[in-house]
């Protein structure tokens, strides 16, 4: 009954063309020799050369990566704890407020999150810089991590943990040896999500960064506001390449694991 019609084929083709065309154009024109971005004047990689020599960009990349690694790691720890609390801790005083604070940042407009954190940092007289961006990113990313991890925790058989405790594990050992390996895929995807959110964030970073720290999105922002620039095209191409390679690798790894798991299950079924 599910006919795949010409109309369906056309929608998919047009839809994907719409999604990918702008990025493909960006990649092609990053190799344009002309300074006039929209006029093709032959192949060249000179914008990549200029980009790699621009120390302001390289500094911004370093700041961004530093912020993203620190905030996503912190967010993963805090978010996993929060997920544990939400799924396992039952009732406790202030639970409603807690779950509200977990979900609210997910729908909070970035401008408001940024504004409120900046007012806090100014209110307590904290110097703004890398540290304040890390605090800000950790706060909103931990909520995403906790949503991802708690969906995994819900479906996880708690009796395994109880068995570990009965067999003499301390609660920490039970977590480390039983729970963590099982929820690891969710923890890893939570970390990746937090990492990308941090890499990508312009608005919150602009509010919470002081003059001493500029992240890559802030740097891109200040140059694209003036119009299209060939250097940004080159930078975009590099970023698209990194993401594409990363996503393809991740999906190949997960496919391989799925195949291996299936094979092991079949082997187990045969031997049983």
């Amino acid at each position: 009954m599910r006919r795949f019609t010409w109309f369906n084929a056309t929608s998919i083709t047009l839809g994907f063309a719409f999604l990918y065309m702008p990025m493909i154009i960006l990649v092609i024109y990053s190799f344009n020799a002309s300074k006039l971005v929209t006029v093709w004047a032959g192949f060249s990689t000179k914008w990549y050369g200029e980009l790699l020599q621009d120390s302001a960009f390289l500094d911004a990349v370093w700041v961004t990566v530093k912020v993203a690694v620190m905030s996503s790691s912190l967010a993963t720890i805090l978010g996993t704890m929060a997920a544990y609390v939400m799924v396992r801790s039952g009732r406790f005083a202030g639970r409603t407020l807690f779950s509200g604070m977990i979900y609210a940042p997910l729908v909070m407009p970035e401008v408001i999150t940024g504004l409120s954190l900046l007012l806090l940092f100014i209110g307590i007289g904290m110097d703004r810089g890398v540290f304040t961006i890390v605090l800000a990113h950790t706060t909103f990313a931990m909520c995403y991590v906790s949503v991802v991890v708690s969906s995994r925790l819900v479906s996880f058989d708690q009796s395994l943990e109880e068995a570990a405790l009965d067999l003499g594990c301390s609660p920490w050992q039970a977590f480390r040896l039983v729970t963590l390996p099982i929820i690891a895929p969710a923890v890893i995807s939570g970390w990746l999500l937090a990492f990308t959110l941090s890499l990508d964030d312009l608005v919150i970073a602009s509010f919470t960064a002081g003059p001493s720290a500029t992240t890559l999105p802030m740097k891109i922002w200040s140059s694209v506001r003036l119009g299209v620039s060939p250097k940004i095209n080159a930078l975009s191409t590099l970023m698209i390449a990194v993401v594409t390679i990363g996503v393809i690798t991740a999906s190949l790894i997960s496919k391989r694991n799925a195949v291996r798991q299936k094979r092991e299950e079949q082997a187990a079924a045969r031997s049983a």
Binding site: M1, G15, V37, G79, V111, S116, L119, T244
Partner: protein, 296 residues
Amino acid sequence: MRRFSLISIPYLWLLALFLVPFIIVLKISLSDSALAIPPYTPTLDFSEGWAGIKAFWSELDMENFVFLTEDDLYWKAYLSSLNIAIVSTILTLLVGFPIAYAMARAPEEWRPTLLMLIILPFWTSFLIRVYSWMGILSQEGYLNQLLLSLGIISEPLVILNTNTAVYIGIVYTYLPFMILPIYAALEKLDGSLLEAAEDLGCSRTSAFWLVTVPLSKQGIIAGSFLVFIPTLGEFVIPSLLGGSKTLMIGKVLWEEFFSNRDWPVASAVAIILLLILVIPIILFQRNEQKQREAEG
């Protein structure tokens, strides 16, 4: 003890970095700026005990909110944000539904790849995705070059820096948010229901409207809210693709804060934006709950 520390660490973090900042915004929105920089009057003075707290309360006022209602810039910005968010949600639905529909009907072995291709843009920088349209839509951009060389138009179209560009940018960046929930709903749809409808004399079109659309309603609602809610406070898209006439509240808030340095007004703008968002967020939550109940 262990349980206590497990709960208290994330709890305190969120209290300190989510709730307290939010209360500060609320407080500043009710304050007057002394010199356009902190401290704002009133300041809470605990050393005077109750009298200090009372004096603090009595000095808080709604002045900034009154100011927002008097200056029609803010009215217009809220209305135009709502307008842009509604129109672009409808446009995203019109573009996204046929794609989700076709994905759900595609041969099963294609679907994981199609899904990955829909999700892939999520991982690339939002800023870059918006930026990529600047080169396409500008006066001498690729779209105008193409249309001019094909002889379809004789004058370049003005698209960049208009609301049209903002709509295109929003549809483009938020399309996956619309496609994924609709696809999830359509994929579960039982094909035999359509067969039954057609056996009972429905035309294919009316089977679509009477069976497919109602059964994917929850996906459509979820997708629409996932587009509408973030669009309302959007800042990057109207700033890069919109013109000086494109009023959106996220942009006004940013300018109020960074250019005019009027923090009390910026805070009041933020509070009202949140109040507007509360309604769609509650409706969205209710839709999700209904879906969970239907499945559970």
